[in-house]
Amino acid sequence: MAETATTLPPAPAREASRFEVRTFLTRYGAWIALTLLILVNLAITPNFATWQTLNVNLTQVCAIVIVGVGMTLVIATGGIDLSVGALMAIAGALAPLIFLGKLFPLPHPVIGIALAFVLPVLAAGALGWCNGWLITHLRIQPIIATLVLFIAGRGIAQVFTNGNLQVFNLPEFQFIGLGRVFGIPFQAILMVAIVAAAAWMLRRTVFGRQILAIGGNERAARLAGIPVASVKQRVYLISGLLSGIAGLIVIARNSAADANLVGLGMELDAIAAVAVGGTLLTGGRATVVGTLVGALIIQLVRYTLLANGVPDAAALVAKAAIIVMAVWLQRQGQR
């Protein structure tokens, strides 16, 4: 008995160390999980440490991360955007229509390709702006306001294409999904650039701090003179623009645009990445880099299970378990 007494540190010290472990876990939990996953894979998954594995995983995760960045900003204001998948479908349906010349005659193929990049993204942005307008001006709850386009958006995309699958082979356009720069997929570079820009914006600019202030305490933010409506409006606009870009990447990768499938379930994948990454779902605390890590974790778990012969269905359960873990960890940090 005396032995047990000596091995146990005094109670207050134990309390303190437990508290530190807890804060450490909440702050770096996502990074630790990612490192562990990579180590496990190096040990058990055949051919893990290859360029090909890296490329496969990066291309799988790009669209989720790009949409997730927009979602992070939206969630940072205390909102949510369910329309991202539908906006991807709309952008994905519009682009082929433009570069195939079905929408309007093209003076030159290059112009067609340029417009095919710009117009669909702007269209998705405009719809995102509409979400923001519903939320700020009509005071509709974000989940309902964005549900409108979640339901209608895919329908709109199908109306554009008469429900047809649009197949194409246009390397200049598909560069966004298939191209490589120094051997690195272009979409991965785009993803890193977007993550870096958004992370910097959130930390350093007035706009970024205003986003967090609104999510942290909207009433206080308004009384401090922050233009709440305009900030929220811009956040949903950004989420729309990024969804548009993600839509283009997906169709370029597939050499086909199927309005039924592009971005299907993306809203939930993006929200999962945000949650796992450590952004507070009630707003006020957000990390864009965390979202990147969160998306990588989800992707890697799925890859690990698949590469080791576990069926996709089981991978979905693992994904759910990760989300529960992440949210539980967050709550620990709040105490």
């Binding site: 350093r204 701090r209 205003q210 942290g216 305490n217 009384l223 003179g225 922050i226 507070l280 006020g284």
Partner: protein, 512 residues
């Protein structure tokens, strides 16, 4: 009421501590059968704690409760309800989209063969409402009826058929004058039926209109129990606030200097906002501290929120710096040179997850940028300066504000406005929830700022504070400015008299 009849309720020597801090100290409350009993006191006087102990929401630390001749210790609100004690809260806790019957029978549905027996429930709802002379179609959704009817339904639901004691916590705050009359009718009916009522309200007129006796609480103690008819309004207010009428007039004099003649920086006339503010007038000159006094619900907070553009006024003019500024939102007010520390720091002031620095520069941030990017160096300079100047105790500018004490949080919020160089600072209860030392520091700071030319408009429920700090005091009562006191006239006696009676009576008592 006969002498030999035992009271319906007697609470004796009730003590209650929260985390070691006493909330109730030997509190007393006695309610006779069929009596309408007023329970009054300021915020934090212990009224609601006492009621919650009675209804089984909290357990008492010591003391005894006798209800209906038997010792009572209710373990839960349900138990209290079962014994015949009903509570009606300020807000109407009903389901607007469901039928009147469903609302009345919620939680005690009648069943037949496992199914809901609608016929019996409708009959019960109708019978219950008939007691209050209300004849409506109980099948229609509650929201189809006006607020007064909804309030009646809430009361009917709470009282049911077997209430012996009904507790009403500010039941009139969501009602207009006519609806209040209907409610009073109901209360008198209850009395006639032998039901007792505990009536919590801050509106003196209502207390005198309907109550038989009054229990006044202060600092967790019962300080006076009296028949309503034998207690003057002034006595009631002074007892509630804990001030003696014989108090010596405030010594010394406030700086009534150049500010007296200066153009007012803010002039508010005939302001009306919603239901709470009807006709409010006041002004603030540069370099003076103006106090807004009044009981709870007098319309002070609502008035200043309208001035700051946080709420929309329904009538009246607000002139800031002599020009008609169109202030329709807080951002406009801030641009024009106003700052506003709201009453509820947690809900409307701090952004808990952000650092001291970010909270302090929240309003200033747009001016601290180069092309949208926050200039961290300048921001840190300013924050360091204010931390030093206001003596904010924190581990550093990057500490999260929620980890600071109430007083230090308040200083950060003051600094949020001071770094903007405002011309008018509006402070709503600036020292609420702050320890004594920090309180004095904050008041000194406000005084110092005013002496440098800042106009300060201060709301406080603490008379001492208002009288000590302000050189002019406007007293509000039931949404109207009833008195403007200046110079020598700013003393606790005069302010209290105005809170109780309004301007006319003030003069009377002053002469008598």
């Amino acid at each position: 009421m006969t002498e030999e009849m035992a009271p319906l309720l007697s609470m004796h020597g009730i003590d209650k501590r929260f985390a070691g801090i006493p909330a109730l100290r030997a509190a007393e409350l006695t309610v006779e059968k069929g009596e309408i009993h007023a329970l009054i006191g300021q915020n934090g006087a212990g009224k609601s704690t006492l009621i919650k102990i009675l209804t089984g929401y909290y357990t008492r630390d010591s003391g005894e409760i006798m209800f209906d001749g038997k010792p009572a210790a209710f373990a839960s609100p349900q138990e209290a309800q079962g014994a015949g004690i009903s509570t009606i809260y300020q807000e109407i806790n009903l389901v607007p989209y469901r039928s009147v019957t469903e609302n009345i029978c919620l939680g005690r549905e009648k069943r037949r063969f496992g199914l809901l027996d609608w016929r019996a429930m409708h009959a019960e709802a109708r019978a219950l409402l008939a007691r209050f002379d209300i004849d409506i179609d109980v099948r229609r959704p509650l929201m189809a009826y006006p607020t007064a009817v909804q309030q009646m339904v809430a009361i009917a639901r709470a009282i049911g058929f077997d209430a012996r004691l009904v507790i009403m916590d500010e039941p009139t705050s969501s009602l207009d004058e006519r609806e209040v009359e209907v409610l009073f009718g109901v209360i008198r009916q209850l009395k006639a039926a032998g039901v007792s009522v505990i009536f919590v309200s801050h509106k003196l007129d209502e207390l005198y209109a309907v109550c038989d006796r009054v229990t006044i609480m202060r600092d967790g103690r019962t300080v006076q129990v009296a028949a309503m008819a034998e207690l003057s309004r002034l006595d009631l207010v002074t007892t509630m606030l804990g001030r003696e009428l014989t108090l010596v007039l405030q010594e010394g004099h406030k700086p009534g200097n150049a500010a007296d003649t200066a153009e007012p920086v803010l002039k508010v006339s005939n302001l009306a906002v919603g239901r709470k503010v009807r006709d409010v007038n006041f002004e603030v000159r540069p370099g003076e501290i103006v106090g807004l006094a009044g009981l709870l619900g007098a319309g002070r907070t609502e008035s200043v929120r309208a001035v700051f553009g946080a709420d929309r006024p329904s009538a009246g003019t607000i002139r800031f710096s002599g020009a008609d500024n169109a202030i329709s939102q807080p951002a406009d007010a801030i641009r024009a040179g106003m700052g506003f520390c709201s009453e509820d720091r947690k809900l409307e002031g701090i952004i808990p997850d952000m650092s001291v620095r970010e909270n302090m520069t929240l309003a200033l941030m747009p001016h601290l940028t180069k092309r949208g990017i926050v200039d961290e160096t300048r921001s840190r300079e300013i924050v360091d300066r204010f931390i030093k100047r206001l003596g904010i105790r924190c581990s550093g500018p990057e500490q999260r504000i929620r980890e600071l004490s109430g007083g230090n949080q308040q200083k950060v919020l003051l600094a949020r406005w001071l770094c903007m160089n405002p011309r008018l600072l509006i402070l709503d209860e600036p020292t609420r929830g702050i320890d004594v030392g920090a309180k004095a520091e904050i008041l000194n700071l406000i005084r110092e700022l005013a002496s440098q030319g800042l106009g300060v408009l201060m709301i406080s429920s603490e008379l001492e504070e208002i009288v000590e700090a302000a050189s002019r005091v406007f007293v509000l009562r039931d949404g109207c400015t009833v008195a403007a006191l200046e110079g020598e006239a700013v003393n606790e006696q005069a302010v209290m008299a105005a809170m109780a009676h309004g301007q006319e009576e003030v003069r009377e008592t002053a002469h008598g």
